[in-house]
């Protein structure tokens, strides 16, 4: 628990549990939101597109954090759930001409239902066995998409999607898309932050820490494990729906097992069991990705055997794999914990302890 500046006292438990507790924090939050809204005006298009992709991934990662970090159910199928959301969204938009504000939530629900189906084994199997059943989701997903008639999910050709339109405005460039992606991301993250401190969130934590003990005190593991998968799937689906409108061409090979594995890596680096950690992890890993992409040509000179085509994938794997292992050995609580330490030491400076 982060320590607060001296002289801050709470009169109710609710006030103490609040995320924004002091006036300076409120001011910072307002400034942050103003910057967030104005961001595309002073950032280049390249940077805006980077932030767009980052935020879309962030929605899925926050969902994964709820399933894996809070409820403790390892999920190696988040990318498939995201794909399910993307395909459902595009199918509804393409075949039934649904507007995006209906298609994206529907995509989220579709992915949530898929999450329930593959989360059901969680009642019987635990831990790493569960990881394997979610890998099964990842393997069955492309086959499922290919198997249904092409008119529904586009089959092997994938989908080309019209840009989302909002009261006649076509959301077809990065800046306009930013104003679709950013509010949705903010809403989803707001929802996540609040979900984890409700009864449901506490039940998730109880099940993560010891599911047998949780059952003893009247928390139904079956209900909450399934719910955890539903919520995780819902977030992934919303992320997938955003992705469908962002990229406007979706195919099954955008949602591979390898991405699910990277997503798990992001929450480990960020810190398990912490929504803010999911955000930090996504920003950190996506930032590294961008750095590797821009360093690509130099890296090819150093490692000529790899070649230009694979250098990004190779570099990303070395960096991310190394980061996961180092974090698990030296800082299992992730970047979020480091961030808290930093904040505390800033508050109590110049004293080493308070």
């Amino acid at each position: 628990m982060a320590r607060l500046p001296c002289g801050v006292y709470f009169e109710t438990y609710d006030k103490e549990r609040a995320y924004v507790r002091t006036k300076p924090q409120t001011v910072c939050l307002i400034i942050f939101f103003i910057l967030l809204i104005l961001a595309p005006f002073f950032l280049s298009v390249k940077f805006t597109s980077m932030i767009n992709v980052m935020m879309i991934v962030m929605v899925a990662i926050v969902g994964l954090q709820i399933t894996t970090g809070y409820a403790g159910q390892v999920n190696l199928g988040q990318s498939a759930f995201m794909g399910m959301g993307a395909f459902v969204t595009s199918s509804l938009a393409f075949n039934l001409n649904w507007p995006f504000y209906l298609a994206i939530p529907a995509g989220g629900l579709g992915a949530g239902l898929m999450g329930i189906v593959f989360g059901l084994p969680a009642y019987r199997v635990k831990g790493f066995y569960l990881a394997l059943t979610t890998i099964a989701a990842q393997i069955i997903f492309p086959i499922l998409i290919m198997r249904v008639p092409d008119s529904i999910f586009g089959g092997s050709m994938g989908f080309h999607l019209e840009p989302a339109s909002f009261f006649g405005i076509m959301l077809d460039n990065e800046t306009k898309l930013y104003y679709l992606v950013m509010p949705v991301t903010v809403i989803m993250i707001f929802f996540a932050f609040n979900l984890v401190r409700t009864r449901v969130g506490r039940a998730f934590i109880a099940i993560r820490d010891n599911d047998i003990a949780a059952e003893m005190i009247g928390i139904s593991p079956f209900y909450y494990k399934t719910l955890a998968f539903f919520i995780g799937g819902l977030f992934a689906g919303v992320g997938g729906g955003l992705w469908a409108y962002y990229i406007r061409y979706i195919a099954v090979d955008q949602f591979t097992l390898w991405f699910s594995v990277w997503y798990i890596g992001m929450i480990i680096v960020g810190g398990l069991g912490n929504i803010f950690g999911a955000i930090l992890g996504t920003v950190f890993i996506r930032g590294l990705e961008e750095i590797i992409t821009s360093l690509g040509p130099y890296l090819v000179d150093i490692f000529p055997t790899v070649g230009g085509g694979a250098i990004w994938f190779a570099g990303m794997n070395v960096v991310l794999g190394g980061a996961i292992i180092l974090f698990l050995i030296f800082e299992p609580r992730g970047l979020a914990h480091r961030w808290n330490i930093l904040k505390t030491s800033y508050r109590i400076w110049p004293f080493p302890y308070s």
Binding site: R147, I264, N317, L320, G321, A323, I325, P332
Partner: protein, 294 residues
């Protein structure tokens, strides 16, 4: 009928290959409760080592020996560098670290050897072996037979020798093992070395005279259902599970895929089977049922 036999025998032999990789997986699980997601990468790493030594104009047997030795050393290094500092961490973290290892190994293999496809040396003759109506790939045939011998050897090791019995105690409970004076650390290190050698052997059978690149590590994920179906502590159970998965996969590929159009049933089959088995018997067919207490 001949066709059916052909598919069945071929599937059974491929199943033995899966069982071999699953054995490499189970040996590590028994020792350290580590579920090694990097198994596919370990297989390909062994393949790369053998290919690499072979490319220095070594004779075949020497390339083979150095390949086995090299992979054992890498197994020991992985244990010492990554898993020993992790002792005492929750199982969740151990699973996660193998995921990190999987990503890292794949990246390192790409950086060192590149993404190109390479011809893998021919250890077993490519001339098909013909027996009545059945035509078999010699590599898979010999691989299957050697696998059976290895299974017999490993199970003798674990059940009859003093050393192996110590490893079995470690599999049962780390604290009990430690208080009996058995070094858990060394058992885990030993398990990693054995597992790396088994993986290398599997890669030689799997890749014989075909092409090697990092995408071949998908074999690890195809072998995982075998390990789960058998139960993670079991050894002989793997043979049966390998047979079930291999034959089922081959028959699904031969008789279901043509009707579904586009294929894919044979890939999904092991996983669908695994999902059902796990729902009915979460510890697998021959796994140890562990009673959990709060």
């Amino acid at each position: 009928m001949g066709e059916f036999l052909q598919y069945t025998v071929n599937g059974a032999l491929i199943g033995m290959l899966y069982a071999m990789i699953a054995l490499a997986f189970n040996v590590i699980y028994r020792a350290g409760r580590i579920l090694n997601f990097a198994q596919g990468e370990m297989v390909i790493l062994g393949g790369f080592l053998v290919w690499w030594f072979f490319s220095f104009d070594m004779p075949l047997w020497l390339a083979l020996l150095t390949g086995f030795g090299g992979s054992a050393v890498i197994g020991l290094l992985i244990e010492r560098g990554i898993f020993r500092p992790m002792i005492g961490q929750p199982i969740f973290a151990l699973v996660m670290v193998t995921i990190g290892l999987m990503i890292l190994l794949r990246g390192l293999m790409l950086v060192i050897w590149g993404p190109a496809q390479r011809p893998f040396p021919e250890f077993f003759s490519r001339v098909p072996f013909i027996w009545g109506p059945i035509i078999l790939n010699q590599a898979i045939l010999w691989g299957g037979l050697i696998s059976l011998a290895v299974f017999a050897g490993i199970s003798l090791l674990f059940e009859k020798t003093k050393w192996g019995l110590k490893l079995t105690v470690v599999a049962e409970d780390h604290q009990v093992a430690q208080s009996l004076g058995i070094s858990v650390k060394w058992s885990i290190a030993f398990a990693w070395a054995i597992s790396a050698v088994l993986s290398t052997f599997a890669s030689i059978v799997f890749l014989n005279a075909s092409s090697l690149d990092f995408l071949a590590s998908g074999i690890g994920l195809r072998a995982l259902p075998v390990a789960l179906l058998a139960g993670l502590e079991s050894i002989w159970g793997l043979v049966l599970a390998g047979l079930i998965v291999g034959v089922g996969e081959a028959l699904a590929g031969a008789y279901l895929d043509p009707y579904l159009g586009g294929g894919g049933m044979s890939e999904a089959f092991p996983y669908i089977l695994m999902l059902f088995i796990l729902l009915i018997r979460p510890q697998g067919l021959f796994g140890w049922k562990i009673i959990e207490r709060v």
